[in-house]
Symmetry: D2
Subunit: 458 residues, 4 copies
């Protein structure tokens, strides 16, 4: 091969190596996303650092990362040791230098991503191989180390089972603070929460749990005010920010709450924010204490799969790719809400005025004769993700009674939908089209509201 | 294409379909392993059943299993929804019929595999996307639902941090029963354990935890006797059977213990028993109660990756493949132990007589001048998995004091190694060769035993 | 799984199956591209129809499509039998019904794609596992069956070795018709070609070979006029339409030439027109004769890889995807030519007025002191694909003498570049930027044109 | 990560690099096969050297190796430029340093493999991206450059169309030398061949073509004697050694023929000898002349896929892996022939005594009432690769008349099968079992030989 051409190839190789070096030294997202060819190469280099891939390895332990099936080996790029050691889920594994490096780099890149999303308080981040609900439970478990006698969790109501169960799983008792309705929005009853604190023996309160990201018409909680209360009362405050990373508003709330009040840990989903398969979460904080307990209390090892998905995805997005995704979602959300308003009004319904929620939106279904049917009609037409809620009576969930469960406390029937990261204009157009189709079918019938039960598609 | 040839292709296709039907109806391992081509086809069919892969889907939820990067999408075969729902980790997901089916089939095949391995008591099985340590913690957490006031766990000592930490993580206090030495073996002090039960308020005892699989010279616990004690005292009994599936002896012990005493749950690792990457475990029982609590208490969703690895691997092994692996390991173990004895004796040491442990073996290092160096010398020569233990003094581990930690209580220095499932004759030969090399280097020096600390490579 | 959800999954599966049925019955590109998940599933289904993937196959032939390495097996999705049989490269293989089906469907979809691109004459198409040059040779070889005594090929000069060599390879002698310059364009000397026909014993002329797609300032040949001449003289006419599919102008020329004159076969590259790796070509015709000779004369089997690449790519593009690519390229080409004009004029050079060539464009380098350096400077800056040509003296190529080889006959130095299918706006912007950089470096020096040799980067 | 462990990872990485260096400098098969993880890493490194994978590339040529579909990109590991340049199929591509390196290394490793197989004469080797038949045609085409006026090919009859067609494709006329029967074997009629040479104007003879590997009862040609004749007469000699690499006997014949007579080129299949998908071949010689013509006459580029398959496979086998495959096949062949003899004799038939053919074997079907049915019955039972031949009358094949076509000239019905490289004991056992089944069904009927036509399954 001619030396001139080889030189260009070598220079290209050199510029690739310097991207790797930059990643290792700067410990943040690359400015521009890497191509799959380069990611694959880097993964292969890292896999070759794990002992199971050593050229002349002889394994005589009980765990040697042998992989029986080749489809399995290839889907894990040769990594088999998982992450963590007996002592610490973020600990380096002597046998698996490559896997260990991936875990560390992922945590660094995740921190950078949270800051790009606008959460300045994200000074310490841990990417965990468990989804949001289990991550919440793990954080609560860790708080119990700090407050061994506390057993109560003050929780602003959000009608998803997962968060409630994370409280119950660790053996705590939730004190449920019901929401208020203001205009069309379901918002935090800050006074009610303050009263709950006053009514409790604070030594008995493990923490306050609030939620930023949820389906309209519920708004993000008033976490700035709650954070100030928590600081005042010296009570820990955990924020369930499940898919809030994609909303600048949630990010700003978190930043302000952390700066002016108390936020101990905020928890994010990886799949909802970064378009990876379900299975990971990110716990973050402005201080390392709780995260250190979480990492060092984890018993044994864990799957590396959710970490590896994030590692690949973040390298692939790069800083600009991620910024563009956030920006495009915001722009698309305006379009989404406008179209939803039009279709609602054309059927004599209206868009709920939920200006605090910049991810999802909801329309009234006041005139529908049989609103609960709408959800299944939409799913049958390959629209996934809408929620049709018809509040009614009381329901017992995990031993606790909720009025109009599924509605977060909103009194009348509605349909909500979200415009989440990665949604395309085509998704929105197809959805609106099918929604119109379904509504026109429904609204031809005489309106005959039945007080039937909530209907949740997802 | 000529009709005769097409007919043969169709018949082959038909015989493939009937394999799928058989799997769905018989719910156990296929008799013979499937080829990767067939597994890939089945996975593709299943993936097409998940809503994110529907041809004309429009997603307007907050979680739509969008996958940003193509390497990530392909490694998950298009699956993105994970497993579980808010209510139950084994629940069916409406949006993900394919993923849900994989989870169910995996649980059925896992149960079959445990029975093939000889554990007749494995009537109910749950494959969990968390490694053994976390699975132990989850089981203990579930027991706390049944015995809310109990906080103590009686635990036969085994010097691995993971199990100890699973007890601590859930907020329990371990009552440690030290082992006895009998001949060369570290065995259960059944009388000590009985005394511990007598000394406790039984209402305060959450359970007894024993271990079957561990490194020589520790033997599997006397779980038959312990199970009888537990039945007598009405105390739950959890068995950590981490990699015991590969030993017919451990399987028989479990069967007998379950038949004649009380074993509530036994916990197995997927990576150690089935050669998949770290990240999964199997909890099994002869009755469904505890498993039901575990599945329904899990807060939210979880990664499907460890389940999918097992699904592929079990289809790929088939019944005969798995049986052969078990058989080959047993045969290789005899060879391994014989070679280890030879090399030990040639250096004036001896093989410890640990006839109860049929997975690992150990040799004395009584004459080594600097035994702790041997482990690192072996690792530097690409031998992974040996343990060199030099017992000495007391050590505080997670707030508990152990004499000679790392040795399970054995008094003199030794080197142990395992012949685990999937190990090849080449592994053993290379190991023995490098061990001889390292020993000959060490034993040329004058013997000068230093009372240095334990050394653990892994 | 709830029957409602399963029903939706089944309906989705059904709509997928109906896409397959449609493909098999309509035999053209799907309207919309298929997702990779669906393509993978279809490939798996097809692979399972080949005997090497039969569940219980026992192979005792000399060719059983056994595949040693798993990376190799997976990259071919389990296909191993290649295409063709002793008798015919397009023949069905009894042992490989799936592979055979792929070949047939690819040929149908390719025909549809050519018609979408605007070539109405593409009534018969054959996708061959050999690149354009070898395909040209194969076509010439086939013509020799029809005209056994003919040994001369009248060829309008194009300065690429591949076409010239395809004539020589089959043992023919080229009669080279030099081009004319008209304004800035290098065009067909139709009179010269007519003269060459008059000068020859027509029984001795195998065919006329013209070229549509080539680098500016050469224009596509005047194939309409040539086709009329060939019809008049009863001489076969082969058109090298290597990458002409992406230009509506080339497609129109071919349609008109076929309708009003004689075009026996036109040959296209798969990689240049459909963005697959190098290795395939498409030969097409309005009548089946020559194609039938090509297919039935091929000795033995051939690689299926280039066919499979096309199969996947065409399913993935679909009709609308392909149409969009064609449209986007045309739009981008205008931008590309405008930017090139600007940068040329800013350095006192000019864009050559080559309005007949709608894929590439060229600028003069009249004032460059050392034009040949520019190409290597651009490649060193990771710009690939430009050609810097400095015509000079005579050159002997494969035994034939060309004046100013590399320039197609153009008299002064120039730089040409293309805007081919799949190029992005970013490609163009980066190219223009680096070109300006390189020119500004070059043009600072005093102009000192050296009559050095041509420089070709590619 | 602790420095000690990192050091071991680095040393492992270093030992990997030194394997690469060794490959580049020694230019032969690695002693031991590489793991897929290491092969994947090396491929990724090489792919990053091709311009289409440069980090900041801007492509403005007409061929930029853009790849539309991601399944396609991944199956080619990012390689897109194919092999060869206008001038030479083995030429280095400036834009594709990685691809070019793979081609060179493959040719070196292939040469080594041929020598390992025992062909000392394989001093020059070229791995071509075309199957055996087309490679034969290409070699004949190249010979025509050396002997422009020669048009006749003396060919020892072998009843496969592919070789005959390769002669016809290049416009030559075959002079067919029929075989002799000696005992049970179909062997070369050396006297007949000598007479054919005497009868011809030697200037008119392009070459003699013989065959080593073919189905029993045909034996490998007497190539040593033929080679001596060719040397004597100064006539080129081409050996079709399609799958002869796997037989030490064929290798020895080639070595001796080359040493004591004239063998210009011998041609091998890649799929039949190295278990890769159909599509490649190896042409080899003790001198470079013909190979140089082949490589430099190839018009344009070609698919890299068959080369890449060989590259991966040879790295994966390594020297010892390949030697073991050869050895295992030989051992299995004895078993295969013994079993075939037993089953034949149990039905009153006998194994043909074809001691010269060490790859396939044949049994008589003298007593079968309807022998032609047996082949389709076997295929319907998923036995592929057997040939049932019932010689009868004359048949015209490609314009030439053959007596008893399909039998190579053997007079009575037989069934043949092969034990080729990669066959497993299970293949043989299943085959024998189904053969017995089919024969027992057939032989229950009264014997009633019908002079029906040949039946070829493959």
């Amino acid at each position: 091969i001619g030396p001139a051409y080889l030189k260009t190839a070598e220079e290209s190789n050199h510029s690739r190596s310097s991207e790797v070096t930059k990643l290792l030294s700067q410990r943040r997202l690359p400015d521009h996303g890497w191509s799959d060819v380069h990611i694959q190469l880097f993964l292969s280099e890292l896999a070759a650092m794990d002992s199971n891939n050593f050229l002349h390895n002889a394994g005589v332990g009980e765990r040697e990362a042998r992989i029986y099936n080749d489809l399995v080996r290839k889907r894990h790029f040769g990594f088999g040791h998982g992450i963590g050691r007996a002592g610490d889920i973020a600990a380096v594994q002597p046998k698996a230098a490559g896997s260990s490096l991936i875990l560390q780099l992922t945590n660094y890149m995740v921190r950078d991503a949270l800051q790009i999303a606008g959460i300045k308080a994200a000074k310490h981040c841990l990417c965990l191989p468990m989804a949001t609900g289990m991550a919440m439970a793990t954080v609560l478990q860790a708080l119990k180390k700090q407050r061994p006698s506390a057993r109560k969790v003050i929780w602003t109501r959000v009608d998803q089972k997962s968060c409630l169960k994370s409280i119950l799983t660790v053996g705590c008792e939730p004190i449920i603070v019901n929401n208020k309705i203001q205009d069309d929005e379901v918002i935090t009853d800050v006074e009610g929460l303050e009263q709950a604190l006053l009514d409790s023996d604070l030594n008995d309160v493990l923490c306050v749990v609030t939620t930023t990201s949820c389906f309209a018409p519920r708004a993000p909680d008033a976490i700035v005010k709650v954070a100030r209360l928590c600081r005042q009362k010296c009570v820990p405050h955990i924020v369930n920010n499940a898919y809030g990373l994609q909303s600048r508003r949630c990010a700003n709330l978190l930043s302000e709450a952390s700066a002016t009040g108390r936020v101990d840990v905020f928890v994010q989903s990886t799949d909802k924010n970064f378009m990876v398969p379900v299975g990971g979460s990110i716990i973050a904080s402005s201080s390392p204490e709780v995260l250190d307990i979480v990492r060092s209390d984890y018993p044994g090892r864990a799957s590396m799969a959710p970490i590896l998905d994030m590692f690949i995805t973040l390298l692939s997005m790069g800083r600009t790719g991620y910024q563009n995704l956030l920006k495009e979602r915001e722009e698309l959300f305006s379009y989404f809400r406008d179209r939803l308003r039009q279709v609602a009004e054309s059927f004599g319904e209206r868009l709920l005025n939920t200006k605090g929620n910049l991810i999802s939106a909801a329309i009234t279904l006041d005139k529908a004769s049989n609103p609960t049917e709408l959800g299944s009609m939409l799913f049958a037409r390959c629209v996934s993700g809408t929620r049709v809620v018809v509040p009614h009576g009381e329901k017992n969930v995990c031993g606790h009674t909720f009025l109009g469960y599924g509605s977060h406390g909103f009194p009348t029937p509605y349909l909500s939908a979200a415009c989440a990261i990665g949604a395309t204009k085509k998704d929105i157009i197809v959805f609106i089209d099918r929604l119109e189709h379904v509504l026109s079918h429904e609204y031809a019938k005489p309106v005959n509201r039945s007080p039937s039960s909530e209907f949740e598609l997802v």
